[in-house]
């Protein structure tokens, strides 16, 4: 089984759409690797500037956000842009359906947390690393030099099977 999580980057906004995650001008690429420099290039935050190439982004192995992440276009390029940047865990309050399905179809994790648990993660200070215990359906977020926060989540049983199978293509090839 793949290892999920690692250093986290926090993006405190609802409704981040797939055009922001990977703009359409890069959809002419025919390799996933070519998307690597362009993750979140068009992210729009009201009150702050966002640097998609910050050291935090470069080191990130997990992403924590709010609700309805990945809305809009069905482009799986949004998931691949995360994947080729070694991010295989996105945590949020909720996800848009197609994005969520694309994550599990690629065998990686879109984890939904209760709003209070999410608030607790956002309240952590300094560098935070997040580890996932898939069997226990639990995440542990550890801030550098601080107290770890544990949160439970529930995976849809079928999505869990997809992750265990390494994605939908291998699941479907085995079963249908």
């Amino acid at each position: 089984m793949k290892h999920f999580g690692g250093p986290a980057v926090f993006i405190d906004r609802d409704d981040i759409n797939t055009d922001e995650i990977i703009p359409a001008r890069y959809l002419t690429e025919i390799t996933k690797k070519a998307l690597q420099p362009h993750l979140l290039e068009d992210l729009h935050l009201e009150d702050q500037t966002f640097d998609p190439h910050s050291p935090q982004m470069e080191q990130a192995r997990s992403l924590v956000t709010r609700s309805n992440f990945g809305c809009g276009s069905s482009r799986e390029h949004a998931v691949w842009a995360l994947e080729v940047n070694d991010i295989n865990l996105v945590i949020g309050q909720s996800f848009a359906r197609i994005f969520r399905q694309n994550m599990f179809n690629c065998g990686i994790l879109a984890v939904e947390l209760a709003p209070a648990d999410l608030d607790a993660l956002f309240a952590l200070e300094g560098e935070v690393s997040i580890e996932v215990d898939l069997g226990q359906e639990r995440i542990t977020a550890t801030p550098a030099g601080g107290q770890a926060v544990n949160c439970s989540f529930t995976l849809n049983p079928f999505d869990k099977q997809l992750v265990e199978a390494g994605g939908w293509l291998s699941y479907a090839d085995q079963n249908y």
């Binding site: 409704d15 759409n17 055009d19 922001e20 703009p23 359409a24 001008r25 959809l27 002419t28 690429e29 025919i30 996933k32 068009d42 729009h44 609700s67 309805n68 809305c71 809009g72 276009s73 069905s74 482009r75 799986e76 998931v79 909720s94 848009a96 359906r97 197609i98 399905q101 694309n102 179809n105 690629c106 849809n156 049983p157 079928f158 099977q161 994605g167 939908w168 293509l169 479907a172 090839d173 079963n175 249908y176």
Partner: protein, 428 residues
Amino acid sequence: MGQTITEKIFAAHRRDTPTPGNMILDLDVIMCHEITTPIAIMDLVEKGMDRVCDPSKIKAVIDHVTPAKDSKTATQAKIMRDWAARHQIKDFFDIGRNGVCHALFPEKGFIRPGYTVIMGDSHTCTHGAFGAFAAGVGTTDLEVGILKGVCAFRTPQSLKVELKGSLRQGVVAKDIILAIIRELTVNGATDMVIEFGGPVVEAMNMASRMTLCNMAVEAGATSGVCLPDETTARYLWPFIQDDYPTLEAAVSDFAKWHSDPDAEYARTLTLDVSELLPQVTFGYRPDNVKAITELAGSRIDQVYIGSCTNGRIEDIREAAAILDGRMVAPGVRGILTPATPAIYSQALEEGLIKIFMDSGFCVLNPTCGACLGMSSGVLAEGEVCASTTNRNFNGRMGKGGMVHLMSPASAAAAAVTGVITDPRELLS
């Protein structure tokens, strides 16, 4: 307990139930375009699985950037073209015959009531207008669809939108769906199918129903759907006349898909459209919607009329009625892209293209183009477009650009005045 149309379609296509609440459906139609399909094709080739489940179920088109704008888009088109030839995909539409997928495929009669349809494109929900379950998916779902003819879905709940009353002159389906999205918000229908019904929908033609269903995904919905009726049967008649002795027989067969009176809905939203004004978006979310009168006077740089939402002949007629005898305002760029060759040809025949050209519009071939900022009308930083498309996300039509979504009549009115304008002021 009764079933909704979506539950009936799911039950009729169920291949497997791997876990409660998840279903594997057999697919009737798998639609492909050149942006999301090539990586699926290349992956299948790489894995030694370059097969298609059934070439007759696959409908493929080059539509997003056509003609190709550079070497990369030419390569995407070539991958599609070679794949279609290799697998004898008969329904493949290339230059001269190609158009925006969600306008072209209905026109070809590919979508029927009760069908299951997927495409690697979020606006696949458009086809729900025919009483089908049609959902946008990612490339992996598409890849499995191509290979195995199946797709996995969580069994969706249904949200009923009941439309009653009568529309004022100058107010159309686009205004209704924008008002609905404002009401539902951008994730108000996540994991649900929006079932559009009521006397307003019953009176709508297929073009208007497609406009409604097209934007269901902007409220987060898995799809939109309308109950198939005589209007559906008349539209499809050229393609189904060998299957039914009479039109009435088709209509009565279609009724088997109708939601039962005691079907269960997660929510019902009733909207009286009688007082509805033309609507327009502001900001960067499709649920940021106001009456056009509240934004009247806002400056625009470009007008874009086209797309899978509003590039059909009815939309072009609606805009032409405003443009006839008028000129595009100085400093404003007008762009029309009829959604398919048949629509373009019909518009030529009706003299509509001449009206657009005489008014100073640039008329393009059918393509998705600027709707998603790929080609053919991309905005510069700080520019604003009055657009008949479906998304106003930040940078959608070009980095730093802004899009106001509106009806074809409203977009045409903006072209003439150079500012956001209530189209009713220009209707005679």
